[in-house]
Symmetry: C2
Subunit: 193 residues, 2 copies
C-alpha cells in the first residue's frame, strides 16, 4: 500500500519515457520530478519527506554499510510534502484514487488532517493534491475547504463533482510534469497579481 521511496534524480532515459507513458506514472513520481524542476529553476524549495520506517534490527557487516534486516512502515504523523514558496511555508498531502465518483476520506489519516489544520493556524499554505487516475485529472483542493468537508459527519468521501467544483485542475506539461505552483499562485497569491 505504501510505495518504495524514490529519491533518485530522473535521468534522460526516464525522462524520455515520461513523454510516452505519462499515463502510467504515479502521482508521487510526477510530484518529485516537478519539485526537482522547481528547485533547479529556483522557483520553490519543496520536498517529499522520507517514508517513516520503524527500524527493529540492523546488521553491521564488516567493511560494508549497515544493513537493516527488520523494519516496518509506520503511520505518517504529518503530510508527505512541504517546503517554501514565495517566502511562505507550503504543506500538502497527495493522493490518487481509481474511483470515478469520489475520493474516500479514509485514505487520509486523521493525523494528517490535524496536521493540515495546524499548518493553517500557523500561517502556512495547505492543500491536498488529488488525482483521479481513471480520468488522468489532478486537482488541488484548499486544506480549509477539504477539512470542512471532512468534519461534516454526514460525508465519508468527497465526490468527483465536488472536487471539480471546489478544486482547481492542475495543468500538465513536459517540465514540470504538474504545474501545481500555478494553482498555488491563483489560489493563494491572487491579490498580488
Amino acid at each position: 500500500m505504501i510505495g518504495y521511496p524514490n529519491r533518485k534524480k530522473p535521468n534522460s532515459t526516464v525522462s524520455s519515457l515520461h513523454t510516452h507513458t505519462g499515463r502510467g506514472m504515479s502521482l508521487e513520481r510526477d510530484l518529485n520530478d516537478s519539485n526537482e524542476y522547481y528547485k533547479e529553476s529556483g522557483r520553490a524549495l519543496i520536498h517529499k519527506k522520507p517514508t517513516p520506517i520503524q527500524v527493529v534490527k540492523v546488521d553491521y557487516p564488516q567493511r560494508s554499510a549497515a544493513k537493516i534486516t527488520e523494519a516496518y512502515y509506520k503511520t505518517p504523523s504529518t503530510t508527505d510534502y512541504n517546503g517554501i514558496y514565495r517566502g511562505r511555508a507550503v504543506d500538502f498531502e497527495a493522493k490518487e484514487t481509481k474511483s470515478t465518483t469520489s475520493f474516500p476520506f479514509k485514505s487520509i489519516h486523521p493525523h494528517q488532517i490535524a496536521h493540515l489544520e495546524q499548518v493553517l493556524q500557523h500561517g502556512g499554505i495547505g492543500f491536498l493534491i488529488l488525482r483521479f487516475t481513471s480520468f488522468n485529472e489532478t486537482y488541488m483542493v484548499d486544506a480549509k475547504r477539504m477539512i470542512d468537508l471532512y468534519h461534516d459527519k454526514s460525508r465519508k468521501s468527497i465526490s468527483y463533482t465536488a472536487v471539480k467544483k471546489h478544486g482547481s485542475l492542475i495543468k500538465e506539461s513536459f517540465t514540470p510534469r504538474l504545474c501545481y505552483l500555478d494553482n498555488v499562485d491563483e489560489l493563494y497569491f491572487k491579490e498580488e497579481h
Copy 2:
C-alpha cells in the same frame, strides 16, 4: 552513525526520567520533546523528518503488516528539521560533538549546506543547532554565518570559541527541554519586539 528514528510520544515515566538523567539524553530526543511541547502549546509546528531509508526487500506475511527485510540508510538530501513559526518557514540541522575545541564541517553533508542556502534564498529562516556534549552546551548558529565559514576554504571546522562568539546559547528547562524558539525570536524577529 545514524540513530533509530524515535517518533513515540513521551509518556510520563519517560518524562520523569528526563529530570534526573537530562545530561545523558541525545540532542535529537531533546528536540523532539521540545517540538512536541511547542506543537501542543500552539507556539510552532516543527517536526523532524523521518530518516531516509532505501527499502530493497519487503515480505508480506499473511494477516500481518508488511515486513521490510533488507534496507539501507541513505544520505539525507535536506536538513532533519523543518516547520512553521510565526508564519515563517523554519529549517535547521542539529548536530552534536564530543570535541571540546571545534565542530568539524565534515559532519554536515554538502547537500545539507546547499539546502540551507536555498532555504535562505526562498525567504525561510535557517540555522544550525550545535551541541558540545562535553560542556552540555547547545548553541544556535545562523545559517548564513555558518555557510560563510563553511565556504572559507582555509577552515575545516568551526571552533568552540567561534560558536560561542557567533552563536547564541540555547537555554534549557523542564518543558521545553531546549527553549530554542526564544533564540529564534531574538535572532530573527528582534525588530518586532
